[in-house]
Symmetry: C2
Subunit: 581 residues, 2 copies
């Protein structure tokens, strides 16, 4: 090694030791005849001291270096007169005897500090410098620790990590595939996996019993702020299990991660029906760090000649505790918030339960104090509370009120990033109607099993069929989900039929799986956690980008390596493809 120890290791107990350190020059301060330099590596920061009187050449050499120079120094550990309590090495410094510049450095385009002056674009272009900053590196260290911990947990329960192919087959169902032209099979293409779903099911047919994989998956989607074309899943599958077994084992995984990584004892994870989540939170991924449950008011408010409510399919409200003092301006802000095109509500109705006990609504013309008392009773208001009411079509108004609830949670400081609330959402619908293609799509994927008691509804009322499907939600973010799968060829064929596949299409795309089901497929199920998302929640981040070492931007570009890029005509010729741009 070029060094004897790291920049994070030295303490008072090492006084007098002769050491060699390597690292980057963080900063430099000249004080009279002394020069102090902070040298940084992954493990910490150590102060170096040079004295002009002791060695003029050495001190001048130290003064001539710039930020981010890579250096190697040898010296003696001495006690600092002016101790720094903020860093673990703050009691000591190195009296340097030799200094070697291992590599010079141009001045970085932004500060390598916890708080940097670099904008997003610059940080991405020089990601290798951004990664030097503690907060960014710490996210990746956290990611590593979480992956190790997850592997230990699963290995301890006899799960086997099996690598499934990255070069697989395009399946038009679901999101768009990235495809890879095959040179050896001209005119044909591999596809990158959106998930190893079919392979992990085949592993169950093979008797692997308990499988997992921390694995890259790919989706060629138009990227929203928090999507990446390649992302990582903790992908799992088990045989001879029921839903209850899956919930227990993977709840155990999440609780183990919280315990080992953050020292937090997460309580046993509550469970909620999908239908209840939609009714009480207007969302299948409710943020349960705070209550503020929806209350449906149809029974209370209808029939008073207020057309907005009378014509609405659903009138639904939340009680914003302690917000009766909201000013007109604040209420206008909330109204503007829910009227934004992304949310699309037409208006906000409110009722104040004033501190003096009086009730005052924005629709006093239609509802007298007597009527408002019924609102208050339904909403369980106390003096000081504010009721916010929306009305409209059930699905839309629930989505709108969900947004308003989250906004109020944020305003009231109820969404603390250091507080964690997990939830299982169960019994998702099997199918959802897609307006664009005018047919039902699988809500999870086509391999999810319907609840046995609902199979009879497949023909008559497909939208009402519930699936053996479950999601885990933490702090309002879906971090994973799965299902008990179909393991029987006939039921799988029936599902494909209901999803609008012809027999030929089903056979062409998934014939290998349906054939496999004929050779002794066990009952099985599993789930996948979005690993990037899980790490970002542990790191207290809103975006997954900073838990990925080399992320792509919203146009799917890596601006550091300038990829994607044009390729040689020779490569295209060999692949027997041509660009039509």
């Amino acid at each position: 090694m070029l060094r004897t120890t790291t920049c994070g290791a030295l303490r008072l107990e090492h006084l007098g030791e002769h050491v060699t350190l390597c690292g980057w020059m963080q900063n430099s301060r000249d004080l009279g005849g002394m020069t102090f330099i902070d040298i940084r590596d992954r493990y910490g920061i150590t102060q170096l001291v040079f004295n002009m009187n002791d060695d003029t050449d050495l001190c001048n050499a130290a003064r001539s270096m710039g930020r981010e120079y890579v250096i190697k120094v040898t010296g003696t550990v001495v006690e600092r007169s002016n101790k720094n309590k903020d860093i673990p090495t703050g009691d000591i410094e190195i009296k340097v005897s030799t200094l070697e510049v291992l590599n010079a450095a141009k001045l970085p385009p932004f500060l390598i500090e916890d708080k940097t002056d670099g904008g997003d674009d610059l940080r991405m272009k020089y990601r290798y410098l951004d990664l030097r900053r503690n907060p960014v590196r710490n996210n990746l260290v956290l990611r590593h620790k979480m992956a190790q911990s997850a592997r230990r947990y699963l290995d301890g329960l006899d799960f086997i990590e099996v690598e499934t192919p990255v070069l697989m087959k395009s399946t038009p169902e679901g999101a768009r595939d990235f495809v890879v032209p095959s040179r050896m099979n001209p005119g044909e293409f591999y596809a990158l996996p959106q998930s190893p779903q079919t392979f992990k099911q085949l592993l169950m047919v093979s008797g692997f019993d308990r499988y997992f994989q921390i694995v890259k998956c790919f989706r060629d989607e138009d990227l929203r702020a928090d999507r990446q074309p390649e992302f990582t899943q903790i992908d799992c599958e088990m045989s001879f299990v029921e839903q209850e077994d899956i919930l227990n084992i993977f709840e155990g995984l999440v609780r183990t991660l919280f315990q080992e990584i953050k020292g937090i004892d997460l309580p046993s994870v509550p469970r909620m029906q999908y239908a209840d989540a939609m009714r009480l939170y207007g969302s299948d991924k409710p943020d349960t760090r705070f209550e503020m449950l929806f209350v449906e008011l149809n029974e209370v408010v209808k029939g008073k000649d207020f057309a907005v409510f009378d014509n609405a399919e659903l009138v639904v409200a939340i009680n914003a505790k302690g917000c009766a003092h909201y000013t007109r301006k604040q209420l206008d802000e909330l109204t503007d918030f829910i009227k934004r095109p992304q949310i699309g509500a037409t208006g906000l109705i409110y009722m104040r339960h004033n501190e003096d006990g009086s009730l005052k609504s924005s629709v006093d013309k239609f509802y007298n104090e007597e009527e408002l008392k019924k609102w208050s009773a339904a909403m369980q208001t106390e003096p000081g509370d504010l009721v916010l009411v929306l009305a409209g079509e059930t699905d839309k108004v629930r989505k709108q009120l969900n947004e308003l609830r989250l906004e109020m949670g944020s305003r009231l400081g109820l969404r603390d990033k250091d507080k964690f609330s997990a939830l299982w959402v169960l019994d998702f619908p099997l199918l959802e109607w897609d307006e664009e293609s005018s047919r039902y799509h699988a809500m999870h994927h086509p391999f999810t099993s319907p609840k046995a008691e609902d199979i009879a509804l497949l023909d008559s009322k497909p939208g009402a069929v519930r699936a053996n499907a479950y999601d885990m939600v933490i702090n309002g973010t879906e971090i994973g989900g799965g299902s008990i799968r179909i393991h029987n060829k006939e039921l799988q064929a029936l599902m494909f039929k209901h999803l609008g596949f012809s027999n030929e299409e089903a056979q062409k795309q998934f014939g290998f799986l349906m054939n496999a089901f004929e050779y002794g497929a066990p009952p099985h199920g599993g789930l996948a956690f979005g690993f990037d998302r899980l790490v970002s929640i542990f790191a207290g981040l809103d975006s997954i980008r900073d838990v990925i070492a080399f992320p792509k931007n919203n146009a799917g570009r890596d601006v550091m390596i300038e990829s994607p890029s044009a390729i040689d005509q020779k490569q295209l010729d060999e692949l027997k493809i041509r660009s039509t741009v």
Copy 2:
């Protein structure tokens, strides 16, 4: 769980317990009024017993099942009268009280037994059935354990696993890339990584200090028997190190794997110069399980009017101990072996050191007994030995004799799969001449550093420049290699120049790396182990195919899922590409 225990868990201590097992019907035997069924899962095999007198319906139901039916049985653990010492559960059987068929099975196209009757093609088409066989599944369990063990070792040494992008940039240097058309950036392509080389070097520039990743890599090559288009590496990189540090740490990894996985204490790994390996074994990956070193005979044999030797650049021989008794037929076989077009020798010359002490060669016309005594002395023969001699151009004849040495090693049983001999080969040449392109190529890759003392030779004698590069070889197979990298922009630019890159080409392809070197790059180096190969050596297999769950065939096809395949015109249109087939 559908079961209370597995098919591998029950022993005499469980007698009388009421248990539920799930698994596959391995086989069935009817003996008078009794039916015995072996039920199999990943954990083992348990015998079930049904008695026609006790429950006729149940016994008939058992008799009606076929091989590979998936069943669930409940019963009582009883002692077997006829114990089976070959399996851990052989002392007990289950007296079955209830039987449920969870899934029927068609008769598999081959036997699900350790020795199967299925040929390669059939096994690959029904890989999900092949994976049910113990030897195949055991290979993947071994693979899992090795990955876990490697991660533990590296994590324990402060290495951080960082995921690098799969969608990266095409770099024409090296093997062919698989490319991925970008829909969002029409006319542009991502490439799948041949290795994360540049990214791991950038992580060193970022100060990550110790990086590893068990990672899929991709090469679009014409597949030889033992190559796969996607393969897995244990990829590692360290900062502030010298070659010695890398050798020690990764020798430690391999020895830990042997210890933890196979209970073998591998001795400290010997080291050999590349030049010595070529001289003594004719190979940069010698099989050191046996000696049979090359002896160069130019000094001994030249000048005796035997044109074959006199005209040869190199005359070189091995001593096949104890093979003097080889018959004319056996010697003809060896001659045919080395004359095969793949090897290409023109002829084999031999000398027998007979048991009676006499020396007899195939070129007695030119060499009398006195001369042959010199051969014997040089080859250190004893009575009973056979000397095999080849002559020709140095590089070619070494390759040929390497093949002959390996063949003799196999014939003499010196290449035991349960014996392991590891070797570091050091100081590889930096460059190798490529006939086709008439220029030097990087022997490892363009980021490998030349030895400081050889840099002066870059202009005058490029082929003589040695690199700070090393390979680990086990049992004659290269399982990994690496180098100390260039960390300085000027030297990297010089390397690209010597590899025939114009400044523009170098900047276009690797500008991001050379730019990064200007912002404070530390000295660094690393290596990558071929994980598939390493597992196959641990498993005692010649091919990597059976340590990969879903391998592709020599045409790059997955015959099970029928991939690659044609994709929809709509997909091609969206990607703005067209097939020219």
